[in-house]
Amino acid sequence: MSEAPKSGFTRLPRNLGIRVGLLLGVTLVIAIGFVIYVLYARGVFEATQRVTLVADDAEGVSIGMDLTFSGFPIGRVTRLALAEDGKARIDIEVPRRDARWLRASTVFTLELSLVGGGKLRAYTANLQDMPLPDEAVRPVLRGDTAAEIPRLVASLRTILENVDQITTPGASLSASLENVRAITGRMAGKQGALAGILGSEDNAQKVLATIDRANALLGTLGGVSQKLDAVLANTDRRVFGEGGVMDETHKAVAQANAILAELRESLKRIDAILADAQAASGNVRAATTDLAALRAEVEASLRKVGRLIDEINRKWPFERDTQIKLP
């Protein structure tokens, strides 16, 4: 094979050296170009700044992993180390041109999902803040889906146990539901909600009968009250009406006043007579005769007053303690 022309199987081209040289040259150029491209891709020709993230656990983080901002990779993990205080330090190289997205207030998170590696993310709320300095050390917040699952399962189990207890045949909830069903069943019956509340149809029947009786009673009471009204009107007419008790009383009082006036006059005459008697004791006989007549008059007047009072007492039955004060 080395002596191709001699073997006669293959004719060697004239520009053999050029062809092979071209092939090797192109290969070399591509290889060197690729090496430069890879160095460029790895950011060798780019000025970078370092951010060190401190995490409790670096699980899920690997060298070469991206740090993303708004879904765009802006940095790359270059080194993982365990610090003296037992915390993981994640060194990230961020190209200077992308460092403007990182500010002093930037929050870094590490999210671990079930599928795929972790995700380092940066959140900057205020892009007007001070830029993040080089060699800055920041804590990283972890969100671990896989770690959440056991906790979730534990809570879920407790909930399921509770549900199980609630739904067992002897559980209070099922007993309550039974009661509710019994009540609603009664409610659906002839006596409706009343039977549901009172427990049985008999009780509901009794309550209804009671209400009926109360209604009848109220009807009777209405009649009574009407009669009472009539009585009161009658009484009113009798007492206060024309010719009634009050009217008669008023008249009797006026009459009594007139009688008393007459009495006063009589007494005045007695006074005058007594004065006459005191002054002229000589005419005793005549005076004695007058006195007998006068006494008869006074007695007649007093009898009139006694009668009048009796009449008032008769006509005014409500006033028991009747008293006439004489002057």
Binding site: L12, L23, V38, R42, R76, G116
Partner: protein, 257 residues
Amino acid sequence: MALSGAFLHGLRRWGGRLRFAGVATAATLTPASYGGTTRAVTVRQIYFTASQILPWYLLFSVLLSGVIMVIVIAVTRRYGLAQYALELLLRVLVLELIPLLTALFVALRSGAAIGTEIALMRVTGEISEREAAGDDLLRREYVPRIAAAALSVMSLTVLSCAAAMLLAYVAMYGASPWGFDHYTRIVGQVFGIPTFVGFGLKCLLFGFAVAVMPISAGLEAAHGQMKSAPVSVLGGMVRLFFLLGLIEILALAAKYI
């Protein structure tokens, strides 16, 4: 007794093969080995191994890569893992599959031919005669073939990997230039310094293996016994296949385990 004898015989033969591989590789890597004749033979060997077949091999490589890329991208998109498609393609296709296929291709095309040629030279007694005449067979016959095979494997690997990477870009982003940043970042992630050095070393080992193993097998043919030629070539090609597999396994193990 016979078993231990055969075992010792096998060990001796492997010792001889390894010694030959070491000597030949050292001579190939020594610039002083390349005299005028050696250089001319090397150029001819590279022409036959790589230049002549390059368009067809590139076409085959692009077709295979294209089919695999379309499948991988479609499947990863279906499962919502499209962000891993490019990395997967670069790692599997460019770093592993294409170099191994290239080495196997060169082994089939030139390794077998070299093995047969050396075996025939051994059977016909040409090697014994030239060695007796003081001819430096190592430099005149073996070094050019080993160097040519190694350079051919490297060259074909680099070119078909470059084609596959271009194709991966097109398969991923179409003709849009806006995927360049993302593509560059993934390339930066995949091709770390150890990966890069490992990739180069693996290609070099593949290149040496595809020539050294058939030559050492051809040298095992017996003088004057024509039937020993196919037996030694056959054994050499099987050993070459396993050696290539072993190099690949070791490279993978070193990288991922």
